[in-house]
């Protein structure tokens, strides 16, 4: 316990980095993932194909491989970014694939008959999306998206392996000095758990808010 308190400052700063990475990558993944879903259900075959490939690629390649690739290969290719930025970008494009899957499954909960009824009434595609699809998909998608965000928090720890000083990395450093692995790593674990719990609770609250009255 004392070991943690003695190093509170760098640990809090690292926690801040974890939270920042998660927030920025999370918002970016939500936006990108939603765009990928729109491409995936669009009437344009090229967009549909590209979106499908995007999801397949990122779901089937380990995040660690992507991080290593981005950190070591991109600078070689002439693209130099701060480490943390690189990690955020990789996390965002990676989690976007999972966001896209979650959103697509939400869209699929809408009975096709409703879409037909909307078309039969003379609504155009953007109106159908706005009035029929999005409000109903949103309800089905809150919990799965919450889970994607929790996974993102956990995955942000992988940034430690490429040198970003986020929570896991900082805790590891503290342990190298203090050599008290049990309280130090247990403490870090509890912090991750607290974050995950907070996201889960928030998702539950949001889901209740948008639930269909029956």
């Amino acid at each position: 316990m004392q070991a943690l308190l003695d190093n509170l400052d760098p640990l809090l700063r690292a926690l801040g980095t974890t939270v920042t990475i998660t927030l920025v990558a999370g918002v970016a993944a939500l936006v990108l993932g939603t765009l990928v879903t729109i491409a995936r259900v669009s009437p344009v075959p090229v967009l549909r194909g590209a979106a499908f490939c995007y999801v397949q690629f990122f779901v089937n390649v380990p995040l660690l491989a992507l991080l290593l690739l981005a950190v070591f290969a991109l600078p070689d290719a002439g693209l130099i970014m701060p480490l943390t930025t690189t990690a955020v970008v990789v996390l965002a494009v990676y989690e976007a694939a999972y966001v896209a899957e979650a959103v697509r499954s939400g869209v699929n909960t809408i009975p096709p008959g409703q879409l037909e009824a909307a078309r039969a009434l003379g609504l155009r595609l953007p109106q159908i999306l706005r009035l029929v699809v999005v409000p109903q998909a949103l309800r089905a998608v809150v919990q799965p998206l919450g889970n994607v965000m929790i996974a993102l928090v956990m995955n942000s720890a992988l940034a430690a392996t490429v040198g970003v000083v986020e929570l896991t990395s900082a805790v590891n450093k503290v342990n190298l000095v203090e050599a008290q692995p049990i309280p130090i790593f247990a403490g870090a674990g509890l912090v991750y758990m607290a974050i995950a719990l907070a996201i889960g609770l928030a998702a539950g609250r949001i889901e209740k808010k948008v639930a269909i009255a029956r």
Binding site: P111, Q114, A117, A118, L121, G122, A213, R214
Partner: protein, 251 residues
């Protein structure tokens, strides 16, 4: 338009063909529906009745032939097609109400979004329509809170809210418990009496006999026989229609 028919038909289909893959679902359909006419389409399951209905507002695209609504050929897509669909009301077997909106919102949504009717006016007109189909007390409920018959009446009100030139009904009572069939048919009978042009796919032979101006019998993608109801039911010409009637009138 043409010399033979003095009034423009509300719906006209000429040589319409439609395949689903290898399946030839509509075979050279010729059909005209006059303004204010009620045409009831009957026939065995799988004969192409739904498909026929759905080609009229281009929910299904035909392979060959021409379809006109109120004299205008169906637009291929885009804004023009949306405008046409706004003029053609459709009622589905499964109601297809928007589950996240109240009954009144279901009715008022498209007039606001498509016709740019002011919200307040759309709401008032929606209430009047719900009144007319007898479910004004359910206006602020969600569809899942209504019985099947009430949902279908809401769906009819939703279609009517667009002030359509013609209404298409695809087996509107087939998903209903028997005790709710009557309330929906009553609404449809009222509409017919007010002069709505209607194409109704149904197995309700009583309704066909009472309300139809003409009964169209389909089998295997073709219009086999069409006649005023008295003639169709009492002096059935084709063997296939006789066999069909024998099977449905048995129970």
């Amino acid at each position: 338009m043409s010399a033979t028919s003095p009034v423009t038909p509300m719906v006209s289909m000429r040589g319409v063909d439609k395949h689903f893959g290898a399946l030839h679902v509509l075979r050279g359909i010729d059909l005209e529906v006059a303004p204010r006419e009620v045409v009831v389409v009957v026939g065995p399951s799988g004969s192409g009745k739904s498909t026929l209905c759905r080609t009229i507002n281009r929910l299904e695209v035909v392979d060959a032939g021409e379809i006109r609504v109120d004299g205008e050929p169906l637009p291929a897509e885009g804004a023009a097609l949306a405008r046409l669909r706004a003029d053609v009301g459709m009622v589905f077997q499964q109601f297809n109400l928007f589950g996240h909106r109240t009954v009144l919102d279901n009715v008022a949504m498209a007039p606001v979004a498509v016709r740019r009717t002011p919200k307040k006016e759309a709401g008032e007109r929606g209430m009047a329509l719900l009144e007319r189909v007898g479910i004004a007390d359910k206006a602020h409920r969600h569809p899942a809170e209504l019985s099947g018959g009430q949902q279908q009446r809401a769906a009819i009100a939703r279609a009517l809210a667009m002030q359509p030139k013609v209404m298409l009904f695809d087996e509107p009572t087939s998903a209903l418990d028997p005790e709710m069939v009557g309330e929906v048919l009553d609404v449809m009978t009222g509409l017919a009496a007010e002069g709505m042009t209607m194409v109704v796919v149904t197995h309700e032979m009583g309704f066909a006999r009472r309300v139809a101006d003409r009964v169209v019998f389909m089998d295997a993608g073709q219009v086999v026989e069409q006649a005023p109801p008295a003639e169709f039911f009492d002096a059935t010409r084709s063997e296939r229609a006789r066999a069909f009637l024998a099977s449905v009138l048995q129970h």
